[in-house]
């Protein structure tokens, strides 16, 4: 019983990061109708940012978020101006197609660049408190992973508030609902795109930072994280950030269950099953409006 509970807890802990990874992708996809499959590589870069800040200046990884998030915001804006801003000029189907292709190429280039710069080794941040484990009635909860879950929840909650209250947040949501109507009410749709892309990239950077603390990073983790985020987006649907977070938790728990039932090597298969079931039963996702 304790073993099962332990696995479920670990599933929830990583699920929070799946949710955070998916939130950025979902925001960009929902607003721009652009699917950035290099999202996982952006997570990987965020992880390396936090790693080097810790390794070179000893900055605590949770404090490093204050640096990583603004840098990722700027990086996202640059990516928008340089690449994805060009894609939004074409109509919707071409837009998705071209963004998929560009993201795929960008992801491989970033992966190759990361291997050149930092070698293919796996790395993770080992802080002084890294080994601390909370004991909850026989279930052990690693402190850093719990903290990561909390941070992920706070970031997504913050984004939820931002999209609801902030003037530009509402503009972003209006653009996601119907960009032509948004344009006619005087919203600068291009600026909403830019903001959505930058914020989505910042979330990827934050997710990467948390991955490098509780788990490990290497140049090749990008596609795996893109996949997790995509499956959460399919599962949760577009339109609700909190729904995306819950979707992430569900994927984490589902993977833990699949590992318990079929054995560790097959834990990934559940993602494919989720994809099928959602597509057949509820293609708009569980939490779509």
């Amino acid at each position: 019983m304790t073993i099962i509970l332990q696995q479920l807890v670990l599933g929830v802990l990583i699920g929070g990061l799946y949710g955070l990874a998916a939130a950025g992708l979902s925001l960009i996809f929902g607003v721009m109708k652009v699917l950035n499959v290099a999202h996982g590589e952006l997570i990987m870069l965020g992880g390396y940012g936090a790693f080097w800040l810790f390794a070179l200046s000893g900055l605590d990884p949770f404090a490093a978020l204050v640096v990583v998030i603004p840098v990722a915001l700027i990086g996202g804006a640059i990516l928008y101006w340089g690449l994805f801003g060009w894609v939004v000029r074409s109509h919707e189907e071409t837009r998705i197609k071209n963004s998929l292709l560009i993201g795929f190429g960008l992801g491989l280039a970033l992966h190759a660049a990361a291997v050149q710069l930092w070698t293919a080794d796996e790395r993770s941040i080992t802080t002084a408190y890294a080994g601390t484990v909370l004991d909850l009635g026989g279930v052990s909860v690693p402190l850093v992973r719990l903290a990561s879950l909390v941070v992920a929840f706070v970031l997504i909650g913050g984004l939820h508030v931002l999209l609801g209250r902030w003037r530009w947040g509402r503009a972003i949501r209006a653009t996601a609902d119907d960009w032509e109507a948004a344009l006619m009410t005087g919203i600068d749709v291009r600026r909403a795109y830019l903001l959505a892309f930058a914020i989505g990239t910042a979330l990827a950077g934050a997710a990467g930072t948390l991955v490098s603390v509780g788990y490990s990073i290497s140049p090749s983790i990008g596609l795996e994280w893109t996949l997790k985020a995509l499956i959460v987006v399919v599962l949760a649907g577009l339109g609700s950030m909190l729904g995306t977070f819950v979707g992430g938790l569900m994927l984490g728990v589902a993977e833990a269950c699949s590992a318990m039932i079929f054995g560790g090597p097959y834990r990934e298969v559940v993602g494919l099953v989720i994809f099928f079931v959602v597509l057949v039963a509820r293609p708009q996702g569980l939490f779509a409006k």
């Binding site: 996809f29 699917l35 499959v37 690449l83 060009w86 894609v87 189907e93 998705i96 197609k97 071209n98 998929l100 292709l101 560009i102 795929f104 190429g105 960008l106 992801g107 491989l108 280039a109 970033l110 992966h111 190759a112 660049a113 291997v115 050149q116 596609l223 795996e224 893109t226 996949l227 995509l230 499956i231 399919v234 560790g264 090597p265 097959y266 990934e268 298969v269 993602g271 494919l272 994809f275 099928f276 597509l279 057949v280 293609p283």
Partner: protein
């Protein structure tokens, strides 16, 4: 048609004349790449559906062929079995995803290939090497002829498809699915046919690779690099054209080998960047570029050579 037969006949004679293994190896890679690129071109270039998990179908074909062949099945039967398995998985994904628009098909294929890569890496962690007896009788020329046959088959298939009713229907779906459906094109059926042709060919290409390569890690067969190779070669040459993937494969394999000699593993960085630039700036690839250059040359010769009064544009 006749020119194509002459090229195939000339290429078929190469192993009889050329003894250098490195040249044969290089030509083998070019031919295999042509077939791989052409297989991606069918689904993405003609039917307009972006498949980001082509490696899954290549890998399934390779894995099944390798397993059956080492167990004693004739390699051609193994390849057909591998292709059928690849088509089976493709129709599962396509059947679920093609009913919907947008990114579902790309997500489904990407998920399939990544999940296979990770799961095969977990369960078949050991390197797959040919038995000593097979290595002793290994003849590169057989592999070369097999790859040549696949390359010829893929080009012939695309040439036939492009002109057929099926192919025209696929291109109509690519341009505007609603309009195609309104004129009576059965979109779902045609997309599934295109997918079956594309992934079946990819499975055969994988089988040929499994017959050729002496040792590899099974998870390498599902590496996203295979997808990227197919996508990049098709785009360099010209997506949705007959000659594009052939040109792209020749160009890519040549420069990849060249770059790999100078900077190991640096080629992905260069080609990834090149690919993004092509999608944004030259979506028609080399075929479009050549068309433009020809247009420029004709214009130049008209204006300088014959000094015709040019029509005025107002």
């Amino acid at each position: 048609m006749a020119a194509g037969l002459v090229v195939v006949a000339a290429l078929a004679a190469v192993p009889l004349v050329v003894a250098r293994q490195d040249i044969l190896n290089f030509l083998f890679l070019v031919l295999l790449s042509i077939a791989l690129a052409q297989s991606w071109n069918i689904i993405a270039g003609y039917a307009g559906q972006v498949n980001l998990g082509h490696a899954a179908f290549f890998g399934l074909g390779a894995l099944v062929t390798r397993t059956l062949w080492i167990a004693g099945t004739p390699v051609l039967i193994g390849m057909v079995a591998g292709a059928l398995v690849a088509v089976g998985f493709a129709l599962l994904i396509g059947g679920a995803a093609f009913r919907l628009r947008g990114a579902y098909f790309a997500i489904g294929t990407l998920a399939l290939s990544e999940i296979f890569r990770i799961t095969v890496g977990n369960t078949l962690a050991e390197i797959s090497t040919l038995p000593q007896t097979t290595i002793a009788t290994y003849r590169l020329a057989n592999r070369y002829w097999l790859a040549l046959a696949l390359a010829a088959l893929s080009v012939a298939a695309v040439a036939a498809l492009a002109r057929s009713r099926l192919g025209l229907g696929m291109q109509a779906i690519r341009e505007d699915e609603d309009a195609a459906a309104a004129t009576g094109v059965g979109a779902l059926k045609l997309k599934l046919i295109a997918l079956a042709c594309s992934t079946g060919l990819a499975g055969l290409v994988g089988g040929c690779f499994a017959y050729y390569h002496i040792s590899f890690y099974p998870s390498h067969l599902f590496s996203p690099g295979w997808t990227f190779d197919a996508v990049l070669m098709t785009f360099i040459g010209g997506v949705g054209t007959l000659h594009g993937p052939v040109l792209g494969a020749i160009f890519y394999v040549f420069f990849k080998e060249y770059l790999a000699i100078r900077w190991v593993d640096f080629h992905l960085l260069i080609f990834g960047t090149l690919f993004v630039a092509i999608v944004l700036l030259l979506p028609g690839g080399l075929v479009e570029l050549m068309g433009k250059l020809r247009g420029l040359l004709e214009n130049a010769s008209l204006s300088s050579g014959e000094r015709r009064p040019r029509p005025e544009h107002r």
